[in-house]
Subunit: 457 residues, 2 copies
């Protein structure tokens, strides 16, 4: 065993260090499409912040690149390790440390999955409302990417729900940021700086998140529209109605057809209607009171009809759940259909229609396909890109991202830049801002060991 | 005129530059108590981002310390200028640039006051929900301090409601961060880093804020309690009830007596009850539907009675408004009563009771007084400190801040560190974190011109 391996084994215990062939393929990738797999030289599985600190100190001294890994469900290859590097996997730091029902917070280790946290909070009548489509994702990974998901329209994204962190700096110090309070004005907000930093500034070893009351009653409404632009025009109206939907998704006709087929959905939409639909809205409401919920569903139905919905279907519990689950699996649908990339551009809600028109035009011109669905309420568009030729694809994505940015949007709403979008960011972002990001990075990570290749190339 | 003055006058126009005796006392202070006034050498009143950029370039070149000023209503002397320095006053950059009713955002210049923004959003049926007690405060100043206020319990603080900035770096670059979208995962969040940075990283020249529907119906409930601890125990129960109050304040008996006297309030609380009260809760609800509001007020009343309120008073529109306004003026009440400082410690809601018990004990031991009120729902306690001797006061504040931090809280929940609390922060905060803050500062402001003495001493 080399001296580096010996030192790492000393820190986490030999049984928690994988080297060479003992490293399975799982650690060589996340779920991003069209990205080359890469095994690291070492996989370490620490079980405490102190061990993480020792690992980072050792890595800084050895100049060893370090990539953090939660569940590896990311869609931008931010958790794909570097050749010869160390992958720090948080799979053993997976305890829910506390559900604090007085302050409405949970304190968890980073490896806790959303599924586990959901179960634990449910027992207390509470919920952690960040629901990206993949519940095997870890809270630490969510911190890394600033994950969003379907309920962000009501509850905000990870950023809005993380109150505090314990984090390890690349230089080995363990710090605590924020806490169990939702306001602090005591210096720069390090919590917010670390959230969304994709493992390039510090590694989270404990996360304090905000919990919300779990509202017992919910209803899901499906509204097919003839015309794509009508859907996009309806979205801001639903957002501003005061009905406070917690889900507000659009699904285009091709994507819906694939979901219906793959997931065997029974939506009750007659064939005659289905054939003319260009896109659907899915809107979910929740309430602590059934009477109010019913009233609101009625108001919503009327509003959607006024806004041009062909019809409005209030889905029964079972089929509603299946539709939402299918929507969460849209990524797998796209992947099995042969998509070459899935992007998650965000634009102001008002610009979704021009953005999508332009993006589809660009795709058509490039001989490519761009279909999808998205967190419509947030202006967050998920497009599956079908375009085999890497050069054509790069050009197409550059054009699509440019279009989004020109409309006041950004390259990624929730998946992060990772290894797949860093190059576009570098090309398209204001150099003065890139320089600032670089200086912040330098301040945290002078040796540059944390996730090289991500955010900075 | 010196060469520096000439250059500054060139940039903003001679009529917008004040030098020497032309500088009024107003510019020498904000509203913090017990802070020495200090006039700057120059006051410049730019009217565009470009002028701000030129000013900062000139200042960097001349090594001139620069302090930004909004309305000067801050309570920590963060806008108090430095001897020989330049005060950049945003009073002329005071236009509401856009109320965007589709994306629910407002785009404003930093000098816009909250009163003005409130009027403009009201015309569109919307509201910007950050309501610190002083509506003459500017949006830019709110960005500086990460202002909170009464409605943070429901709508969050400034940080939660600022979506994007145009900002000028001390080196003169004009950048744009964020935008009209509520989620972005495209590199470090510079918006969040600048919010709450008290004019030490960059100056905001345009602010994009989130707007919310202005709910038409509201009700305010006043609940007196015999016992201080009961009030503190009631707070988390009200927060977690699902009633979603937008105001949840406590007011101790001495503070209430002063408010009733100064503001001539008629609360309808009989003398017999008033004499036994230790503290009051003020809870306000709002709804788009009167029926629902009435139901909720009833539920709230029952809940408060169960939690030990002596009685529950639903205040009529006029007296409700007067009470809220009086609460907003608690600072002036404390000032006129001779308070030597007003602090705004934040602790987890669950720790308010032990914190207040300890803080009052500490004050008593020091022969000082500590009375107050606070944004109870946020664990944000405003204490007026009566203690003339500066040394005793410094020791007392150190002890109070230490106590708050030991309970998982922070020195300031919303007023910022400014010139009054930076020294405590330096003494009590983890050196590893202080070092990180310093490196971030260095990355933005290599020449150290922005607000020296604030956050760093
Ligand atoms: C079917 C499917 C649907 C999805 N739907 C959504 C969606 O709706 N919304 C959405 O936002 N995402 C979605 N995703 C993407 C993914 O679930 C999220 O990006 C999630 O946050 C990744 O979590 P993870 O634990 O798998 O992180 P990983 O992929 O392991 O890592 C993600 C990033 O976080 C960093 N990281 C991991 N742990 C830590 C730590 N402890 N400290 C610091 N950094 C760390 C990594 O280095 C990496 O940069 C979906 C993915 C799939 C497969
Ligand atoms: C009676 C009263 C009640 C109050 N109640 C509350 C309350 O409930 N909650 C609360 O949070 N505060 C409260 N405050 C404090 C005060 O209103 C807030 O701190 C407010 O944010 C200050 O705004 P301002 O425009 O007066 O800023 P200033 O005092 O002028 O400046 C504050 C800080 O912001 C910086 N700054 C100003 N403009 C910019 C800019 N364009 N770019 C970057 N930095 C800038 C300054 O340099 C300084 O650091 C109260 C004050 C009073 C007098």
């Amino acid at each position: 065993m080399g001296t580096v391996a010996a030192r790492l084994a000393d820190i986490v215990g030999a049984e928690n260090l994988l080297v060479g062939d003992a490293i399975s393929d799982d650690y060589a990738h996340d779920e991003a499409l069209s990205v080359q797999q890469q095994k690291p030289a070492y996989v370490a599985k620490p079980h405490s912040a102190e061990e993480v600190a020792e690992l980072l100190k050792a890595a800084t001294e050895a100049g060893l690149p370090v990539t953090a890994r939660g569940s590896g469900t990311g869609l931008s290859a931010a958790a794909r390790p570097v050749e010869g590097g160390l992958l720090v996997s948080f799979e053993r730091m997976n305890s829910v440390l506390e559900i604090d029902t007085v302050n409405h917070v949970a304190v968890v280790q980073p490896g806790v999955t959303l599924a586990e946290l959901d179960q634990r909070t449910a027992e207390a009548g509470l919920t952690y409302p960040v629901y990206p489509g993949e519940l095997s994702a870890s809270v630490g990974g969510n911190v890394g990417t600033n994950a969003g998901g379907m309920r962000a329209i009501k509850y905000g994204v990870t950023r809005s729900n993380v109150l505090g962190l314990q984090a390890v700096l690349p230089t080995g110090e363990i710090i605590r940021t924020g806490g169990r309070t939702s306001k602090i004005s005591t210096g720069y907000d390090l919590t917010q700086l670390i959230v969304g930093s994709e493992g390039t500034l510090a590694l989270a070893t404990e996360v304090t998140v905000k919990l919300h009351p779990r509202l017992p009653h919910g209803a899901t409404v499906l509204a097919p529209f003839d015309d794509f632009d009508q859907v996009m025009a309806a979205v801001p109206k639903v957002v501003t109605s005061g009905l406070a939907p917690h889900i507000l998704e659009y699904i285009d006709n091709l994507t819906m057809a694939a979901l219906v087929y793959n997931e065997k959905l029974e939506l009750g939409v007659p064939d005659a209607i289905r054939d003319r639909v260009q896109a659907y809205l899915v809107v979910a409401l929740e309430n602590r009171d059934t009477g109010r919920l019913e009233e609101d569903v009625e108001t919503l139905g009327e509003l959607l009809s006024e806004l041009g919905a062909i019809d409005v279907y209030v889905l029964e519990g079972g089929s509603a759940r299946k539709l939402i689950e299918a929507r969460e699996k849209a990524f797998w649908s796209a992947k099995s259909a042969g998509a070459d990339d899935v992007i998650d551009v965000v634009v102001p809600r008002s610009s979704m229609s021009p953005f999508l028109t332009k993006a589809r035009e660009l795709a058509q011109t490039a001989g490519a396909g761009a279909i999808g669905c998205g967190h419509a309420g947030d202006g967050n568009v998920h497009l599956a890109i079908f375009c085999k030729d890497p050069e054509v694809r790069t050009k197409l994505l550059t054009d699509i991202f440019t279009c989004a940015m020109d409309l006041g949007g950004a390259i990624s709403g929730e998946h992060g830049l990772g290894r797949t979008k860093t190059k576009y960011h570098k090309e398209l972002e204001d150099p003065a801002k890139l320089e600032l990001l670089r200086r912040i990075k330098q301040g945290f990570d002078p040796a540059g060991i944390l996730n090289p290749g991500v955010l900075f190339s």
